[in-house]
Amino acid sequence: MDELIEIVAQQLDWPAEGLSEHSSPVDTANWDSLATLRIAMALEVMHGVAFSTDELLKFNSIGAIRALLEAKLECR
């Protein structure tokens, strides 16, 4: 199972099978601004990165989060 989807599922308390690249706060239960922050914090701990507020404001779908995370990991 995809690691990012697992993390999002865990933070949203929602089955991973119900999530896809396109899942977003608009169509996913429990996905509010606190959940976004918890997803970011889980990724920060796991990958030793830090997201700025500007980046957090772009956490608009699982695909968008993946792109932001990958860009960060590539920069290292």
């Binding site: 706060p25 608009v26 509010d32 601004s33 976004t36 922050l37 507020t53 404001l57 608009n60």
Partner: protein, 313 residues
């Protein structure tokens, strides 16, 4: 269903509907809470949100929705982050007023986003809308006809505009220590078409002295920003007449970047207000739905008090 809701909002409060649409399209993570507010407090949401977004659009032009959605996004993200850290740490970050003044109040670009963020919380947060309704229904009727009011720490001027719109017979003197706050508030007052009855002054609310005392006073969300909030209440008491009604709000166990004074319960705020010579008439403590994962429940308290006319205990 969503479509119905949106077209209804568009009809009743078009500027608010545009903000809602901007949040949905560009800042979807904030939509759930706003939707809950719209569902639970539909009339007050439309009443205040519609009016305030109308003022914002005439103050900011076509950028208003983006500016406010972004300011709100920044503000809420910061509040969430601070709250998580606060629940782990058990106290506010140990900041002095000077540090906050330099990094926040004296920082123009930060202040602009910040103010529009705070501005929006009054109608986008369900518990803040309840304080607005409390102010409108319980405080404003106590203000005498043709009264003069003083407002300390007016910020974006949202309470100033609400008051002046609701009470066309009254005049307001609003103070703030930050010049950029007053620039925004001046624009908001002009947009709300109340500029002729409101004066704005750069002043420190702790030391400001009016030549003639006011008939009523208010200070919203300033107490928790001060090292010694008792000095604000004492100075408010000095600047209003005996018997004058005042409205004060305070944030309780609610961490934000510029909150210095940690009120732990409603009683602490009451005691502070009483100690300055006021009698408490009514209060409303409002909070978001409790989240069991957090140790502290952040809340906003509104207090209506009168300056005592006799020396009773």
């Amino acid at each position: 269903m969503l479509q119905d809701h949106h077209s209804n909002l568009m009809r009743r409060a078009p500027a608010l509907a545009r903000l809602y649409e901007t949040l949905r399209a560009d800042y979807p993570t904030f939509l759930a809470a706003v939707k809950a507010t719209a569902e639970h407090e539909p009339d007050d949401f439309v009443e205040l949100g519609g009016a305030a977004m109308g003022w914002a659009e005439s103050a900011l032009g076509t950028d208003a929705c983006q500016m406010i959605a972004r300011g709100y996004g920044y503000f809420v993200t910061d509040v969430n982050r601070q709250h998580i850290e606060y629940c782990l740490r058990g106290r506010y970050k140990n900041k002095t007023y000077k540090e906050v003044y330099d990094s926040v109040y004296d920082n123009d670009s930060y202040m602009t986003f910040y103010h529009w963020g705070v501005f929006a919380t009054l109608f986008l947060w369900r518990h803040h809308l309840r304080l607005y309704a409390f102010y409108r229904d319980s405080f404003l009727p106590l203000v005498a006809e043709k009264a003069s009011l003083v407002e300390m720490g007016s910020g974006s001027g949202i309470w100033t505009a609400i008051t002046a719109r609701a009470r066309p017979d009254c005049r307001l003197s609003a103070l703030d220590i930050s010049k950029s706050s007053l620039d925004i508030a001046t624009r908001v007052a002009a947009a709300a078409e109340v500029g002729d009855r409101v004066s704005f002054t750069v002043a420190d609310a702790l030391t400001y002295e009016s030549e003639t005392p006011f008939d009523a006073g208010l200070s919203c969300f300033l107490l928790e920003h001060l090292e010694q909030p008792e000095n604000l209440v004492a100075n408010l008491a000095r600047n209003v007449k005996s018997g004058a009604p005042v409205f004060l709000t305070a944030a309780i166990t609610a961490a934000e970047v510029d909150h210095i004074y940690e009120f732990r319960n409603e009683g602490e705020v009451f005691r502070l207000i009483e100690a300055a010579g006021f009698r408490i008439l009514e209060a409303k403590s409002a909070a978001p739905a409790p989240d069991p994962r957090f140790k502290f429940l952040p809340r906003s308290l509104g207090v209506i008090a009168v300056k005592k006319t006799t020396e009773h205990w």
